[in-house]
Amino acid sequence: MNWAEVLGAVEAMYAQKRDELNALDAALGDGDHGTALHTAFKEIAARAPELAQARPAEILKAAALTLMNRMGGSSGALYGTLFLRASVEVKDLDRLTGEDMARMWEAGLEGVMQRGGAQVGDKTMVDALAPAVIAFRDSISQGRPAAEAYEAAAAAARFGAVKTSELVAKHGRAKFVGQRALGQIDAGAASTALLFEALRNYWREKGG
């Protein structure tokens, strides 16, 4: 697979779901999550041609820097950290195996949790990211192909995102709405679920 294409697929997903993510963020935060993510991924996708021949780690790093430096805010830092740590983990590899990707996402998750200080249950993107990464790792450790591992990861992320509606937030702007957050899905958890849905769709199509 081509990671420039993968990120293009993520961009397409966010293009479609931008307003939905904004609406989720508006309920608990400042309503910009979809636009912020989509704008960053548009910029990443625009650089796809020049990165077409690059190693996965370079492509992931370019995405990370755009997320960090152009998206800004909390989620720019968090998504940036996710991709940056992922990139460091697979540095110098020309092609990523399922095992490589499992380590890569584990490193990304660790970075996000360290950066943001959020645990599972705090109603953040971690509530989607942690189950996704764990499901991915389990599938790979059981010898499944990456495409199947992404099926499991996407399902787990979606489930984790939906479950955030039962939680009260401990981080991000949503922290400041207190009990009012009950019944609302966290925007960052939703966008992480969409990220893994885009990855799943890509692997479904391209196999691997």
């Binding site: 800004g72 720019g76 968090l78 702007r173 400041f176 207190g178």
Partner: protein
């Protein structure tokens, strides 16, 4: 609701850049705008002095761009509207502020600002840029209970740190001394805000929150973060009577203390209201035996055209008094 959707801007995506251009053109003797969109002092401070950098989301003008200048900050790194700037830009700001004495990166405590500042410090370390420290600033007593001060948000009361730390860095104090002074001012400051009507995000046009015609929210944050809950609108005196005691109890400020008082206009409060509110503050402080060393009332850290205000007190000793009285020449703060 009384939100204002009419704004005199051009293309929303250019709003921050155009604002910075206009600001820098208006005050060329005080500030300069870099190609990367950073606001830096027109005349750098003396060599060997500690450089002071602060980043923040835009939309709070004149904060912090208006506090760059002699006796104040050296560099401000503006982000997009209500959104922390990314680490690369912060590192750029740190580079611009370096005058040989190291750099103190001031962070108004919001998750995004903290995370991006931490990443910037990691980048500095990776690039071998040494002599960079970070200090987290917070003041809003509504955002976390007493005992968990380090969880609190940075709001209008940071004004005191900008001013006093700015003056202190000019004296040739070292980086550790500057950091300690910033913490000292922070730890002597307490703020509580109230919101009456919302501002609108200038890009999305979205109203930042909703409040009934007869409701106010005590503890509302500078991005519309929820505070301690809604209350019925009361008169000015009753509002101060509700806000001041928790502020005083939190530090606590005691009889015999001396304090600076700052009332910050969140956007569209009238000066008239602020003076009437201040009158009550002064009466209550008299009654509590707390001396007012100085007062400052105006729109320094806004949330667009939100109506509301923040009441902020800083307990001062002789050192802080001297720093408060020291000259300062920013576009929006002259002393």
């Amino acid at each position: 609701m009384s939100a204002r959707h009419k704004k005199l801007i051009n293309q929303p995506e250019n709003i921050v850049r155009e604002m910075l251009e206009g600001f820098a053109r208006a005050y060329p003797s005080i500030v300069r705008l870099t190609d990367a969109g950073l606001i830096v002092r027109a005349q750098p401070k003396g060599a060997g002095r500690v450089g002071l950098v602060i980043g923040n989301g835009s939309g709070h003008e004149p904060a912090m761009i208006g506090f760059v200048g002699a006796g104040l900050m050296d560099v401000n790194v503006p982000g997009e509207i209500f959104s922390a700037p990314g680490p690369e830009r912060i590192v750029e700001g740190i580079r611009l502020a370096e005058r040989g004495g190291g750099v103190l990166l001031c962070v108004s405590h919001h998750a995004g600002d903290r995370m991006n500042a931490e990443m910037a410090l990691e980048l500095c370390a990776a690039e071998g840029l040494s002599g960079v420290e970070m200090v987290l600033l917070y003041d809003d007593i509504s955002s976390a209970p007493k005992g968990q001060e380090a969880e609190r948000r940075g709001t209008a009361g940071l004004f005191f740190t900008w001013k006093m730390l700015g003056a202190y860095a000019e004296t040739g104090a070292s980086l550790p001394q500057c950091k300690a002074l910033a913490e000292k001012v922070r730890d002597a400051t307490r703020t509580l805000a109230v919101a009456l009507t919302p501002g609108t995000n200038p890009i999305s046009g979205q109203v930042m929150f909703a409040l009934a015609e007869d409701e106010i929210e005590i503890g509302m944050g500078v991005h519309g973060e929820v505070g301690q809950g809604r209350q019925k609108l009361q008169d000015a005196d009753a509002t101060i009577d509700a806000m001041l005691p928790p502020i005083l109890a939190d530090l606590p400020f005691r009889a015999g203390d001396e304090a600076l008082v700052f009332i910050n206009n969140s956007g569209s409060m009238t000066q008239m209201e602020l003076f009437i509110l201040y009158r009550r503050v002064a009466q209550r402080l008299d009654a509590a035996g707390i001396g007012v060393y100085g007062a400052w009332i105006g729109a320094y850290a806004t949330t667009q055209e939100m109506a509301g205000f923040a009441l902020s007190l800083c307990r001062v000793d002789d050192e802080l008094k001297r720093l408060w009285d020291a000259p300062a020449r920013g576009a929006y703060f002259v002393r």
